[in-house]
Amino acid sequence: MIGNAPFFVAMLLIIIGITGMLTRYNLVRIIISLTILESGVNLFLVSLGYREGGIAPIFTGSPDGALMVMPTVQAMTLTNIVIGLATTALLLSFIMVLHRRYGTCDIREIRRLRG
């Protein structure tokens, strides 16, 4: 049961992220919710890679014959963090331009594209 705790936390983070995106009106808060959702997915990925008693697959100074984990999920998580960084930077720069043009970050006032 306790071994499943990371998965519950990950799901909780994902739910918090989605709820935040649906209920907030401030664009910056929506981006924060998006990053929370992303953290949830990252946590889920990393938790999948956990093996009892495994060590990081690095030979530098490792004990002889130790059990090493497969680093695929760690690589995936890292890639997703990098992608997340790029996305967040892009979205934030969009928001900065929007704020300069409209003077607000509230999506109820920004919405001009309709129909």
Partner: protein, 159 residues
């Protein structure tokens, strides 16, 4: 807004150490946890520290954006070309063509635990350095541009 002397002087003292630590993380990416992105992000955090500490000065003279942009392009090209070099040498794209050749980063190493030899890993450290340069430059440019556009009388530059 001018920062206090303590902040500015501490930032100046810390900056080289942050850069060295970032460079260490990049260069040892194939031996220890870390790598190009992590080290680059550490180095970029040093640039951001400078930016915050000296926000009252002219940023253009403090951080040369154009050089950073060129460094970014250089990093990306180094990454792409070191992957492409494998094709030119007659194997598949992204093949580790430097490993075990005795050249740069090419010292052969036995399978199994070892104390960690820097001069190994073939093309992996080269790509780590490329990514590190790219991330350092890209994050710094993003930070500078975002910082500049918070000033009231800035131009409309994006990204």
């Amino acid at each position: 807004m001018k920062q206090s002397n303590i902040v500015r002087i501490t930032a100046d003292i810390m900056f080289p150490f942050i850069m060295i630590f970032g460079a260490y993380v990049v260069l040892h990416g194939h031996l220890t946890p870390g790598g190009g992105f992590q080290g680059g992000a550490v180095m970029a955090s040093g640039v951001v520290l400078l930016l915050i500490a000296h926000c009252d000065k002219d940023i253009k003279t403090l951080i040369p954006t154009q050089i950073l942009k060129n460094v970014e392009t250089f990093g990306l090209l180094l990454f792409g070309l070191s992957a492409l070099a494998a094709v030119i040498l007659g194997s598949g794209f992204f093949t580790n063509w430097l490993v075990n050749t005795g050249l740069l980063f090419g010292t052969p190493v036995e399978y199994g635990p070892n104390p960690g030899y820097l001069n190994t890993g073939g093309v992996i450290p080269v790509m780590n350095i490329a990514v590190g340069l790219e991330v350092l430059a890209a994050l710094s440019v993003i930070a500078v541009i975002m910082f500049r556009s918070t000033e009231p009388d800035c131009g409309g530059e994006e990204q």
